[in-house]
Amino acid sequence: MCNTQGDTPIRLKRRPIAQSIENLDQLMNLEKGRMSRDLFWDRDIYEQELERIFARCWLFVGHESQIPKAGDYVSTYLGEDNVLIVRQKDGSVKGFLNTCPHRGNKVCFADLGNARQFVCNYHGWAFGIDGALKGMHASETYEAAGMDKSEHGLHPVAHVDSYRGLIFATLDPEAPSLAEYLGDMRYYLDAVFNMDEGGTEFIGGCVKSVIQCNWKYASENFVGDILHAGWTHDSGAKAMVGGPVAEVHKTPEQSYHVNFNGHGWEFNQDIVGNCATLGEKDLLKYLYVLQPKVAERLGELRSKMIGAISSCTLFPNTSFLPGQNTFRTWHPRGPGQIELHTWTFVNKSAPQEIKDKWRKGTMMTFSPSGVFEMDDGENWEYSTRSNAGFVTRQQDLYLGLGHDTRVEDTDLPGNVFQGQINEANQRAFYQRWLDLMKADSWKTVPQRDVPKMKEGV
């Protein structure tokens, strides 16, 4: 695998693409709203996802506010590949696989911090924050062997870029730009990550948990499933706010599903619906006072999204909730397990007591012991585990809601559907999944969605 091209050593070495699983098209019939359960159980499908989804897509790796200074780093995952995301002396951000190119041990065991170098515990290979191999224990012996240090730095990720403070990385040198990848979803991202001119920040630490479910059950829930809230979360809502979840299925005229490139956002226009579930009146006041200013910045529609009943997934495995302010990545750990990493985001310019209330709110609702997270985890675990049954896993699943709800006559970017009780986004998510799984490279991934936004915004 030690391929080189010309004089430049390619340190991100890739195998030629593996042969695809046969008959992928038979896994779903989205027109009819039918889908196979193999997506959530089959080990070969999972291995192909690691290659064609996680080693190919732009994945969220951190928020700019986590690594403000040179040497600041976070350790995270691109699929199951552990990477270090490091602020450089020139202010740029680089990413490397967290593995020593000598014998493969991890070079960093902390989740985040500040480093002058990363030193491997095994033989003392030492790497600069730029990934270059700077030296090693018993360096004379390597010098005697004629080893060229410049050929043995940490393996870099292919690209790192950011949008509105959110940093993404891809392991595929052929990936489109981040702007193209996010496409028109950037219009909606601004409603949350650019509602205030000071931008957002992550506060507190990362809360991690393990859920025994397939990663797609979590991603597709946040991409468009508000339907479950009125049933699954009824008791949680009554505990937090003293009443049931709003009956959003009765007022589809004021809510939408929008999607682009498999990313999706379901949203109402009630300004504070999600936020209300945290049970903190001061947070509602904060949003109500901010809303007219957001309307000036971004227009009426997006100003009503800032804390509304809504959820979003950025394909494939990063999601967030406006108003509840939880931001999360569902890292895959085999077909039947995820490692969930969550953070709390807030507007940087918000008063400290407002930030503290949001942090408390996310802990009460969307942490491992949070009233809503526990509801979801149990559902996703049994949605996954039931497929252990040989006959059970041969029964199709249904995702056909909202087939005739496409809104054609609109200026809104992306694919727009009327009514947030819908499965349009879920179908778009799985269509993108299928497109990527079938494609040998980015060049052959069909561009189904036509952007209205310019690439460089």
Binding site: R116, Q117, G124, A126, S139
Partner: protein, 114 residues
């Protein structure tokens, strides 16, 4: 006693900074610790590394840029893993704007150390 050799002008090195100087065929790391200048050998005693590429930490220690081991700048003594052997220090002579070094003598602090 050999002739002191000019290292640099005081103004050429800010407080809290270190830089490499080659004099008389010897590579030195020269430090400005709050206005007091020091000089040591530039090479780390543990592995191949140029100490002048490291950072000054804990007020008066140099952290090796490779394994982050530290030496006490005034005395040259090793302070933390993996540094075990002291670095050579050199006597720095302050003459107004000029900073000079005597390659035959240790720093006063190293000479005073038991």
């Amino acid at each position: 006693m050999s002739q002191p050799i000019l290292l640099l002008k005081r103004a050429d090195l800010e407080p809290g900074k270190v830089r490499k100087c080659e004099v008389g065929g010897v590579a030195l790391a020269v430090y400005n610790l709050n206005g007091t200048f020091y000089a040591t050998q530039d090479g780390c005693t543990h592995a191949t590394a140029s100490l002048s590429e490291g950072d000054i930490v804990d007020d008066d220690c140099i952290a090796c840029p490779v394994h982050d081991g530290t030496f006490h700048i005034p005395t040259g003594q090793p302070m933390s893993f993996p540094c075990e052997h002291p670095i050579r220090t050199f006597k720095v002579i302050d003459e107004g704007e000029d900073v000079l070094v005597d390659l035959d003598q240790e720093s006063d602090e190293a000479a005073d150390a038991v």
